[in-house]
């Protein structure tokens, strides 16, 4: 079995406890306006070009065989003297990826770390991810997910992973669809499954100015997790202004409909009052 991975990052300090390696799986059904990994959206390998430093020498065009319809063949990549072109997305077999991750099992163990699957939306390639996990020995596994998948896959994920980090993005269902492009209902259902279940989890809240920096949003999150026995904490992830940096590299526009310059508001007192542990990543 194979999967498409757009990055493997060692020593990912923000993706769970201990020293961790994060595998970024390519492809996502959501289109969040604040997404900072646009190369994770399409499930297929694609060409990325840092055009800001391009001197238009023409070397890449001279060797291109698909000028009107890039197929990410990568022929042009070596010809850029400035190294501005690369293919995002590598096909891995589950066996090879598991072997690559297993190599550092000793490091994960000594540090209380492990492997984190992120994306994109890793549950879009759940068969591949679960196959990789089944091949890992003695390694703690975590996932960063939007929670947007079917119930059966989510149930399997809860039964397989040691830690689930799931986003709670927008509480208002209408706004959720507007800003992320998908229905909130399955996500809400899965958040409630986590809250009622046995799997340790972290609820992650990206806070976007003018979108979800409201007291109601914080209250809804508190409501969802208030009786959860396995909640480790809520992570508050403020919007990063660098989010748009990679859009031009994948030929997309970055045009969020919120004002990036406004600092988001937090209603941490909601969590304080409810006795819910949380952490703000400033």
């Amino acid at each position: 079995m194979t999967g498409t991975v757009f990055d493997i990052k060692e020593f990912a300090v923000f993706d769970g406890p201990g020293i961790r390696t994060t595998v970024f799986l390519k492809g996502c059904p959501l289109r969040c306006q604040w997404c900072h990994n646009p190369e994770g959206l399409s499930p297929k390998p694609q060409l990325m070009v840092s055009s800001a430093s391009c001197v238009h020498c023409g070397a890449c065009s001279r060797v291109c065989k698909h000028p009107d319809n890039c197929i990410a063949c990568g022929v042009c990549v070596p010809y850029c003297r400035l190294g501005l072109r690369k293919i995002a997305g590598t096909i891995w077999t589950a066996e090879a990826l598991a072997e690559r991750l297993q190599r550092d099992a000793d490091v994960y163990q000594m540090s209380g770390g492990g492997v984190t699957f992120s994306g994109g939306e890793p549950l879009m390639q759940w068969d591949f991810v679960s196959e990789v996990i089944s091949r890992l020995k003695g390694i703690n596994t975590a996932i960063e997910t939007s929670g947007y998948t079917n119930d059966e896959i989510f149930r399997q994920a809860m039964g397989t992973l040691d830690l689930i980090m799931m986003d709670w993005k927008v509480s208002d269902p209408e706004k959720h669809r507007y800003y992320t492009g998908v229905d909130q209902a399955p996500i809400r259902r899965h958040a409630e499954m986590l809250a009622a279940g046995e799997t340790p989890f972290i609820l992650r809240m990206p806070i976007i100015p003018g979108v979800n920096d409201t007291e109601e949003h914080f209250q809804t999150a508190a409501e969802i997790v208030k009786d959860a026995k396995t909640l480790l904490r809520i992570d508050i992830l403020p919007y990063q202004r660098a989010a748009g940096a990679k859009y031009s590299m994948v030929g997309r526009d970055y045009s969020p409909e919120f004002d990036e310059a406004v600092p988001p508001r937090y209603f941490l007192n909601v969590f304080d009052d409810a006795g819910i542990p949380y952490k703000v990543f400033r």
């Binding site: 493997i8 060692e10 020593f11 300090v13 990549v77 070596p78 010809y79 540090s111």
Partner: protein, 675 residues
């Protein structure tokens, strides 16, 4: 930091003390020549004249006195004499005793007056006495000046030290300040502070136990001493400002086998972090028994971006040094000679940087001259081994008939010099020479690339050499293969890492059994010092896909233009070789983006990473925290970045004071950083 330290730091930062400076006449050497004085007597006379010219100078709210007011030291030889000497002798660096570690602890405890009592009327002892008297006379003048200004505590301290044994932590610090200060005035340089946390600890403990100082007041004294190490930095000779060897080594195994990390070690880490100055440079000795909490303390300092601490691994260094013939107790006492070369305080006249084996250049030369005739990696390795052996011998052949300018004052700090009336410049218990090894990672990458592309995939040697000579223009697919699709040292890929091990072992084999003219052995190392700049300039494009003009990495670090998996792979790769065999020194350097540290838990994670390197048998590690955007902006607007400190090759300096080639190298390193 107290208000007083804050004020002194600011005063010093604004260079207000520079206004008190006056120059010595440059024609001083004429007097020596006319009197036909021997070299050691000239050094003593010059020290006397330098210290006589000094004027006592006190900072506002001074705690630890002695500030240089004479910026220059005239040479003891005139041009004619010096050129006669250099014609006959090998001269190392500037010709002075340098890069050693004096035994400050013993001299502080004994006192200069007691040492003076041991001197006879021999000519050499007269030079030693003249030196001691010069130091004590300047101390008396400082004492008088202090009394006249009502600085009674300083005056009382100077009445005691460095002539007599210190009774307090303050006196011990003042004694060290004077002894170290006078060393620079003798013309010696880059001689380190050694195991400061060990030889100073008894004084601190006694003061705290007796209630003479509180923790706060004693810590203030420590910070005042740290400040004093930065007062005269601009007067020290070095490749670049900051390259001055004022390093101290904290923690680590003691000669009796117990662990040396103590309250003073911890205070030194804290003071360095509070003051954020380039001196003293902080080294932290660790081993398999060091608890994670010590690494965490070190990491809190790393986070600040000063390039401190540098870590040394007892478990590798001590057996490595013993295998070279150092006695166990001495090996356990190792410190850093200036940057990262291992040296024994008070016992070694090792010249730790007598030359450098340019790994990358050697491999490149063999490829150019012989690749077309060779049929296998086995033959290629044999050719490289032969060339490494030849290069080592050629380097040593050029270093015959060494002459070092004598230093009778510094000799007081070395075992046996006083008793035997033998100047330290002529040798001590250990007289070994060290060779750096530059560009070992690119050299390993070249071998891995040739192995794959030529001997496994069948590209012709002609094509590879033509591609290199064309700087890969017109050979883009091959360039891409070499650069991005061949194994690289640093990615935990045995195909490349085995060449890293093999090259280092070959270097160790090449020096084994060799002796220098002083009877010492030759030590192989993994350092580069400034050679990484020189050696890269001699290279065109190389077989690892490195384009012409791309610098070599500093020290024991991965190539600069490759894709790295990350710090875990890096540490695994670079801890594979048996580094006991190349224990002259030279650290793996890892750059972190400062964003890594935005969460407090990252401290523990980075500490665990350092511990991983140590547990896996790494010898030396140095971590930097950098912000590339800030470095680029600092090049454009140096006026806004006078405070910005960066690690260069074995020392930290102010970024805006470095030559552009060093600035550019640091920016290029930052492009590989791990975030």
């Amino acid at each position: 930091m107290t208000d007083r330290i804050q004020a002194m730091r600011q005063f010093q930062w604004e260079h207000k003390h520079h206004t008190a400076r006056t120059f010595l006449p440059e024609d001083l050497h004429l007097r020596y020549r006319d009197n036909a004085l021997p070299d050691y007597a000239r050094t003593a006379l010059r020290l006397e004249q330098a210290l006589e010219t000094e004027e006592p100078y006190f900072f506002p709210q001074e705690l630890i006195a002695f500030t240089r007011t004479v910026p220059n030291l005239p040479r003891i030889y005139d041009e004619e004499e010096w050129s006669a000497i250099t014609k006959e002798h090998y001269i190392h660096e500037l010709g002075n005793v340098s890069n050693l570690s004096p035994d400050y602890g013993t001299v502080i405890a004994e006192g200069l007056a007691s040492l003076r009592d041991k001197l006879t009327d021999s000519d050499y002892h007269r030079a030693m006495r003249r030196s001691i008297d010069a130091v004590l006379h300047l101390t008396s003048r400082y004492e008088e000046a202090a009394r006249a200004k009502g600085l009674t505590e300083i005056a009382d301290t100077l009445a005691q030290v460095p002539a007599y044994s210190p009774r307090t932590f303050r006196e011990a610090l003042q004694s060290l300040r004077i002894l170290h200060y006078a060393m620079w005035c003798e013309g010696d340089y880059h001689n380190t502070l050694g195991r400061f946390d060990q030889y100073m600890l008894p004084y601190l403990k006694a003061d705290l136990a007796a209630g003479r100082e509180t923790e706060e007041s004693a810590f203030e004294l420590l910070e005042a001493f740290f400040l004093s190490c930065n007062r005269d930095s601009d007067l020290y000779p070095g490749m670049q400002q900051g390259d001055n060897g004022q390093s101290m080594v904290l923690g680590g195994m003691l000669p009796d086998g117990s662990d040396g990390f103590n309250i003073l070690s911890e205070w030194c880490l804290k003071a360095s972090g509070e003051l954020r100055l380039i001196d003293p440079k902080i080294n932290l000795r660790v081993n398999s028994k060091t608890p994670l909490s010590v690494y965490e303390k070190g990491t809190r300092l790393t986070k600040l971006g000063l390039g401190f601490p540098q870590y040394e691994n007892d478990d590798v260094a001590i057996p490595g040094l013993m295998a070279l013939g150092y006695e166990e107790g001495d090996a356990r006492s190792y410190v850093m000679a200036a940057c990262w070369e291992f040296i024994i305080p008070g016992k070694a006249m090792d010249i730790v940087n007598i030359g450098a084996l340019p790994f990358a250049n050697v491999v490149d030369k063999v490829l150019h001259e012989q690749l077309q005739k060779l049929h296998s990696m086995k033959e290629l390795k044999a050719a490289i081994r032969q060339e490494i052996f030849a290069e080592v011998r050629r380097i040593l052949e050029e270093r015959r008939n060494l002459y070092v300018i004598p230093s009778p004052y510094l000799s007081l700090f070395f075992e046996g010099c006083l008793e035997k009336e033998k100047d330290i410049s002529l040798g001590c218990k250990y007289n070994n020479w060290g060779l750096h090894g530059t560009g070992v990672a690119p050299a390993a990458d070249m071998l891995a690339a040739v192995d794959q592309v030529i001997f496994r995939e069948g590209t012709s040697a002609e094509e590879l050499l033509q591609a290199m000579d064309a700087d890969f223009v017109g050979y883009e697919p091959l360039h891409d293969r070499l650069k991005y699709h061949c194994p690289k040292a640093g990615n935990d890929d045995d195909q490349a890492d085995e060449y890293l091990s093999w090259l280092l072992n070959t270097f160790a084999d090449a020096v084994e059994g060799l002796h220098n003219e002083r009877g010492g052995i030759i030590r192989a190392g993994t350092g580069s010092a400034m050679f990484y700049i020189f050696h890269a300039q001699e290279l065109g494009a190389t077989a690892d896909g490195r384009e012409a003009g791309v610098p070599l990495p500093a020290n024991y670090s991965p190539s600069l233009n490759i894709r790295l998996n990350g710090p875990v792979s890096l540490i695994k790769s670079f801890s594979k070789p048996d580094l006991k065999r190349t224990i002259n020194g030279g650290p793996l350097t890892i750059e972190f983006s400062e964003s890594v540290f935005s969460q407090d838990e990252a401290i523990t994670k980075v500490a665990q990473l350092v511990q991983l390197f140590i547990l896996r048998g790494g010898h030396q590690l140095q971590l930097n925290t950098v912000n590339r955007e800030r470095l680029l902006d600092a090049q454009k607007h140096p006026e806004n970045y006078r405070n910005l400190i960066v690690r260069v090759w074995g020392w930290s300096g102010y970024f805006v004071e470095l030559d552009k080639c060093y600035q550019d190298h640091i920016i290029r390193r930052a492009e590989l950083l791990l975030s």
